[in-house]
């Protein structure tokens, strides 16, 4: 395959940013989600307000934040709140429109594992655990997942369900006082997915330019459901690439 003129990270960023069109606020993580949100602010969502899990609103960072708790996020922001208020009054109250999640494993219903590989009591790999992800999965109005695809991460069966996605049972799905609609989109290095409204199953919507369905199949642990009108992900525009490369990540920390 010839050089398409952009990296895998760059098309993941551009495809994700477009999903934020018209969104009012968003829970931001570090790394790719941070670039995604900042790109969306400059393109499809000029009114997007960034909310950091550390409790910062309206940040105007003067440098690329190294973590969601970077002091550059605080200086010049519009509000700082305690963790209790952030989780209780914003997230649990349903004020957060969109949040990003990822994980070591995802299943076809968008359930995520960030806890252990192997058995919980005797794990092969001990992962970080939930952090705020369990609550975010339940209460953010929409959840976007950005993950690279591989057999070991897109699995038939999670080793541990840290953050709930869909149940696969429309009667039962998210019935107990949840506020969010669960995962709505997954953006990978190979394509983009939605979730079937009836069954909650992940459904391939577009392939990135040059990617084949076969490659997708090779990199996931179940036979993917494919949208009848499977399309191609529009590549990053020159303006998107300029913003990413010149303004958002000039040192290529997250995008190379």
């Amino acid at each position: 395959m010839s050089d398409p003129g952009y990296t895998k990270s760059e098309i993941m960023i551009a495809a994700s940013a477009r999903l934020l069109a018209g969104v009012r606020n968003c829970f931001v993580g570090v790394g790719l989600p941070n670039i995604v949100c900042n790109l969306a602010q400059r393109t499809v969502a000029p009114d997007l307000q960034l909310v950091y899990e550390s409790g910062v609103f309206g940040a105007r960072p003067e440098r690329l934040p190294l973590s969601i708790g970077d002091p550059t996020l605080v200086s010049g922001s519009t509000a700082v709140t305690s963790m209790f208020e952030l989780f209780a009054y914003y997230l649990q109250a349903g004020l957060i429109d969109v949040a990003f999640l990822g994980g070591a494993q995802i299943d076809r219903y968008g359930n995520l594992n960030t806890t252990v590989i192997g058995d919980y009591a005797k794990p092969k790999v001990r992962l970080p655990g939930s952090g705020g992800a369990c609550e975010i999965a339940i209460h953010a109005r929409k959840v976007l997942v950005i993950m690279r695809q591989a057999q070991r991460s897109f699995v038939e069966r999670l080793h541990f369900r840290t953050s709930p996605g869909h149940s696969g049972d429309p009667e039962h799905d998210r019935a107990r006082g949840w506020w969010g609609s669960g995962p709505t989109n997954v953006v990978t290095d190979l394509g983009t997915y939605g979730f079937d409204e009836e069954t909650g199953e992940m459904t391939l919507l577009t392939l990135h330019p040059g990617v084949t369905l076969e490659q997708v199949r090779e990199n996931m642990g179940w036979e993917p459901k494919v949208a009848p009108d499977l399309g191609e992900t529009p590549p990053p525009t020159p303006e998107e690439l300029r913003l990413i490369r010149e303004e958002l990540d000039p040192e290529g920390v997250y995008t190379s």
């Binding site: 309206g58 002091p71 519009t78 009054y89 109250a93 006082g177």
Partner: protein, 306 residues
Amino acid sequence: MGSKVTTMRDAIAELVRDGDTVAIEGFTHLICFAAGHEIIRQRKRDLTLARMTPDVIYDQMIGAGVARKLIFSWLGNPGVGSLHAVRRRIEQQDPEPLEIEEYSHFGMVCRYVAGAANLPFFPIRSYYESDIPKVNPNIRWMRSPYEDGTEVAVVPPLRPDVTIVACQRATPEGDAQIWGLLGCQKEAAFAADRVIVVCEELVDESVIRRDPNRTVIPSIIVDAVVEQPFSCHPSFAQGYYDRDNAFYLKWDEISRDPEALDAWLKEWVYDLESHADYIEKMGPAHWESLKPEPATSGEVNYGRYA
């Protein structure tokens, strides 16, 4: 994010609807009398008024007939005595009954917290052996599912249709900063469906951004911003003006007599167009007399991380 700045008239006209549950909060401090007066002026009806400490502004509103129900924890003219218009409605159904639903202070606070946090109930170690739960079936009991098995009271969430919060300063988008007594304004605002912020001063966002820890109400929950100096008179705004205690004493007399109350409402609310007229009618010397000498906070350094 656009500006949400509007006039008090438009904010009340658009956001407060007949039959709404309305909370004008503030624990002695930053009680937005100007909003209450505008609600009276626009002759809103059948409101449920919620507030920890219904005081003179609720006596005025209830005396003016805007409310059918009151949710509260302490009813009085602080430091002075009774709210006579409220008492007439409770004691004599004069001129009509007033439904009441009462809690203790902490019960009211926890109702707002439950509303703000989207919790179906909030636990509180209170009401043991008190008669309050006997007259309020919304106060219920739950037992801890842990080994201690402690029995606690629970209160349900309170979710006002509209909460009105006065503050010292806010941006046009609605990021609002408060210092001095904080009451339960933050919780009441987050619990509400619609929020009106009334500020003594509208400031550029650069002022707010210099001290983000001082922001109490974030713009994300605010629907309208009204700039209205002295909106809290006769209550006070820390650093801006003092409580007008003479008025609290005078209100005791006025509200004892329904005719005097009506005359006061006519002179100071109905016959005026807005709070600007009220300020003018009160006269500059009065406002000057309520102004404190300065006592500034000093600065802290947030640091520039570039």
